[in-house]
Chain length 269, copies 2
């Protein structure tokens, strides 16, 4: 039997691949991990679309619980659904590795992820450097990492993709509320992310982040109503990007064709 790590892509139920859908329909048990990103479909909609029951994976899964889950693929076909591409997240690769170590058959079905979808900005995917995460400051008060990553990337002229924090309300989880909506989840906005970077700048004072720093805000990449908007930090802070998910790019050295595409986004949307 096999443990399938299946990427759902970036938008809704129908972004699953035809191959993955066939696998899901044939699996004995289906888990869905919804804590590291956001889909426009609810778990009920996914369940209806697959014609199968779906179990919401517990994000506070104990090590023992995770091990039991992986072991269960010894005698059942198990699908573990994740948003994006399963190999983009360290936690999901952890599952892959554990299964592999225990000689449990495991297969990944790739799908779209923010790592390539960010190319829609017109910034060349080749020219992105290291990626960084921006957490809420109340989680990491002395945060510096994103700032150092941006600085390092800029030293080689590379763009920095910043993935913004998602904080799931524990209370709602513990009471068994399975409704994954904004009401019990905090999604960091581009404004909040820029404020975190400004906070670090105020402490480190290396002028990496200023009012004039060019930043590219992206909202809902992979969805029909996605937005790409760029400009000096102080202007982008004023712009309303609407519903989550938001991402942020701090560009390195721009090619003129990249500048032109960014201008086009500012004009056309």
């Amino acid at each position: 039997m096999t443990l399938y790590l299946i990427g759902l892509g970036l938008c809704g139920a129908k972004d699953i691949s035809v191959r993955a859908l066939e696998i899901v329909k044939s699996c004995d048990k289906i888990y869905f991990e919804a804590y590291t990103s956001l889909l426009s479909s609810t778990i009920e909609e996914l369940s209806e679309f697959y014609g199968k029951e779906i179990i919401l994976a517990d994000r506070n899964q104990s090590e023992q619980g995770m091990d039991d889950f992986i072991q269960s693929a010894k005698d059942k076909d198990i699908a573990f659904l994740v948003i994006g591409d399963p190999v983009s997240a360290t936690t999901h690769m952890g599952i892959y590795r554990t299964a592999k170590e225990q000689n449990i058959k495991i297969q990944v079905i790739h799908n779209a992820s923010i790592f390539s979808a960010v190319g829609i900005t017109g910034l060349q995917p080749y020219k992105f450097g290291k990626t960084t995460s921006i957490p809420f400051l109340d989680r990491v008060p002395n945060l510096e990492t994103p700032y150092h990553v941006i600085k390092a990337n800029q030293s080689i002229g590379a763009h920095t993709l910043c993935l913004l924090d998602i904080m799931v309300d524990n209370v709602a989880q513990e009471t068994g509320n399975k409704d994954q909506t904004e009401s019990n989840t905090r999604f960091m906005t581009i404004l909040q992310a820029l404020e975190v970077l400004e906070d670090i700048e105020s402490r480190l004072k290396e002028k990496i982040i200023t009012d004039e720093t060019l930043v590219v805000g992206c909202a809902r990449l992979g969805h029909d109503d996605f937005i790409v908007k760029s400009g000096p930090l102080k202007e982008i802070k004023e712009f309303d990007f609407g519903a989550p998910l938001h991402s942020l790019v701090i560009p390195g050295k721009l090619h003129f064709s990249e500048e032109e595409m960014l201008d086009l986004w500012n004009e056309k949307k």
Copy 2:
């Protein structure tokens, strides 16, 4: 009417998303671009799977021809199928931009791409720096770029993904042979890519590439029979990775969990 840029993902016909398949089935004309990557399905198999005729896009398309093609989306629904994610390649983003400039409705359907799929190696996607292409030396005899990109990435501890050249035999194309097999296409192997890097090293002599440099070879990522194998360059040169596509990663600074996953690949496959 709309021009749809549709990603087919990395493997075969069934890696298209359910959403994209519905769009393809409803389009008036379907083009397929097969020169920048390799799918395990032939154009005939795709055509049969969609139940639609597919036109092989001309890779030597003139600017006028490309413009006519984009214009045709003014009164028809057109699907342009590409391997991977459409926004990963500069040429496809060029189509997107032209359509946008001319106010022609255009939509991207993302899919898996090598940019995220490379995470299966166990190397953290966050820690990849700039990506580079390695062309055949007979195309670019004084090639230096990949070497400089690897060096720059290593200066910030980042991994380098190297995409290997695909050369389509012009004669076969010009005579109208539409058969996209290895017989008329040269896919660079990992061995050839390493030899190109060694050639640059012999000219620049900065000891970025030596017999002992740790390299990670990946073959057929996204396919069931993919391979990940790492070791010192001199050992990886001896290893037979089999059929294309091949890719190469020159790791930067490794976290121990990345080392452990690379070791696991060497043991288990």
